[in-house]
Symmetry: C2
Amino acid sequence: MAESGSTSAARPGAENLLFLTDDQLRRGIEAMFFAYRGFTADPDRILLEKSYGRAHHRALHFIHRSPATTVNNLLDILGVTKQSLNRVLRTLIEDGLVESKVGKRDRRERHLFLTDAGRDLERVLSEAQRKRMRAAYREAGPEAVAGFQQVLQQIMDPKLREHFEQLKDGH
Amino acid sequence: MAESGSTSAARPGAENLLFLTDDQLRRGIEAMFFAYRGFTADPDRILLEKSYGRAHHRALHFIHRSPATTVNNLLDILGVTKQSLNRVLRTLIEDGLVESKVGKRDRRERHLFLTDAGRDLERVLSEAQRKRMRAAYREAGPEAVAGFQQVLQQIMDPKLREHFEQLKDGH
DNA sequence: TTGGAAAGTCAACAAGGCTGACATAAACTG
DNA sequence: CAGTTTATGTCAGCCTTGTTGACTTTCCAA
């Protein structure tokens, strides 16, 4: 009777709803704010040296994840305008980090790839970011990490959650 | 024997280190990226209507949390330059959302407060953000939420973690 | 009384968002 | 085949929010 068919482990019975107080929610909000700063801090430092920004990092990351992705697909994932993305892609292509190839089936499309140099930079950036995440995961332990992932997925917009799910398993 | 005195539940024995693979870390990184977009989406929409930005939201939030905070303290928490913060504070003061009072003990300091109008806007913004977090928490359940908080705390820079801890309990 | 901290201001600049308009090539459709 | 839609790129201009550097005012404390 108290069981309302929730998708996950949530049981909104009368027992234990203290984790839904405004105070708990505020802590979560502040934790997201402070943690995101840490999350981007290490790559940001490296990017600064190379005169790139966070936008370049995001492009490199998702091209690395989904080689041969199209510009439109990247626009969808990143949620910016094509003008914004184009500015970033242009510099990455000029600097020889990204390659753009005309589509075979549909020659209007451009498929994006990392060059060797692009892969090198992507590796440095993502390793810096992974290092912090690895330390955090190790400290918190596997069960905390599972909860971390669950909550983050629920915070996402449904449309972005789809992109996330697609990236989840291999590619 | 496998117990190495870690501060938390992590037991880096041979059993179960699969949560530390690069692939798991990548998923965490992408989850942070997508979730942060959702996290800011609702307040951003409201701010757009009022011609404010995220920087205004952050200032309102932390002045609300710590009434009578000084500009310097706020700079420390927000991690921006005083010129950047000053621009935001000036518009908030001009618009009658924030009040700045000269310090009594140290008259160089300015103590910041929300006006009634400031509190109103802060409430609208934070309630929009809490709504999404509440739904996410409810879906994920209390244990997931605990893990979520643990991992986020570990991702923070130590200095920011101190600020976070101070805000944790009342104020 | 003097040094330095706290705060504010001005100017200039950059990254990275945005809109709108327009161009081109390719693909699709009737 | 003509017309429309799609994918991409580009130009121009604007906004927010970050930055640095220089300078002033206030005023506490040694």
